[in-house]
Symmetry: C2
Subunit: 219 residues, 2 copies
């Protein structure tokens, strides 16, 4: 298994947590430096035509891409421990919670979006950070709304076991930390994220603990 | 089954196609007018705290939200015809193709994003449309890159049967039509979208064929 990732990529972070939970060690980790635009190079485009991270090669099949699709694949091919509950309704809830981060929040602040805002829309750094903080906050608020309301919420986002929803909660909160978003209004989200980050599978996957990462982040 | 949707919402369109494919008729369709901001009202917030469309109530369980999670739920609870292939690698490919639209393209142009750009970032209509067209184009290019390369591509995105990937290809191309994006560079995407829209399940789900829709769209 060959894992294309980058320390700072929150989508890579999500898959790294899933790999750790499943105790899967990729044979090779290929660093694709998003800051240098390496994801746009022809050699990476040949691997993932979408030119985003992460990507995973497992055997000789076509490349796996998109973090949610990769996590579902890992869950189907390495079922223990499960990243999704067994019942369809629970699975739907976990997937929907995960997508708050992976579809409706994180894709609005990835490097390609920030670059387009800076170079094409000529938005200054203040405007770009206002934008990023807004969508991180919207994601946190949506998660809090569901998690604080639903009886299914337990120690983790869905009961007492870690699921794909927790991975995405942790990614959302880590992004909030990068951009110094006020997380006080989201106590349920923060409680769950804290429970997650206390687990080695999450802690050792943290962006700032990866090769090439700085000691701290000043974006 | 109660389906909260809006004619123009492409996420609702995705679920509408899935319901048609599965021949599921919701008992009630509730119109939530995104143009009037009805998704932000307290009564809808009580249903879906994320305040986005679509949402689905099935029996007495918690609300189902997020179009991809709803489609997976429908596929698990109404397995025929399948929206995902049987093999994990094929499922991963279909999910990843779907997420190009549902995570990396469509969420960047929904009403809340356009409203924030207009009212908070003070971007004029030209800048907003440049933005929207750019991310529609990026999604089309990513789909084309994968679909044109992979041996798994057939009449549809993954072989000879309609999958969730086709639903998202159709949504991507429909969005491109709304914003008059040049689709000429994406022949594989367009071939597949044309095959899809020839099917009644897709055709009758089209945004402009829903109650409340105008005869044509001038955004």
């Amino acid at each position: 298994m060959k894992f294309y990732s980058f320390w700072r990529s929150l989508a890579s972070f999500r898959v790294r947590i899933a790999l750790n939970i499943k105790q899967i060690m990729p044979d090779e980790i290929v660093n694709v430096d998003l800051m240098k635009g390496e994801q746009l190079r022809d050699d990476y485009k040949a691997i993932n035509p979408q030119m985003l991270l992460p990507a995973l090669v497992d055997g000789d099949g076509p490349i796996l891409f998109q973090s949610i699709a990769i996590m579902e694949y890992l869950d189907e091919t390495h079922p223990q421990p499960r990243l999704l509950p067994a019942d369809p309704r629970g699975r739907a809830r976990v997937r929907a919670l995960a997508l708050i981060n992976a579809a409706d929040s994180h894709p609005l602040m990835v490097p390609r979006v920030r670059n387009f805002m800076e170079h094409e829309l000529k938005l200054d750094e203040t405007a770009r950070e206002t934008w990023i903080r807004h969508w991180i906050t919207e994601g946190l608020a949506a998660m809090e709304g569901h998690l604080a309301r639903d009886n299914e919420t337990g120690t983790f986002a869905h009961g007492e076991n870690v699921t794909m929803a927790d991975i995405c909660v942790a990614a959302q909160v880590t992004g909030a930390g990068f951009f110094k978003v006020n997380v006080e209004p989201y106590p349920t989200v923060m409680r769950i994220a804290t429970s997650c980050m206390a687990l080695p599978a999450f802690a050792k996957a943290h962006p700032l603990k990866q090769p090439g990462a700085p000691a701290s982040l000043s974006h």
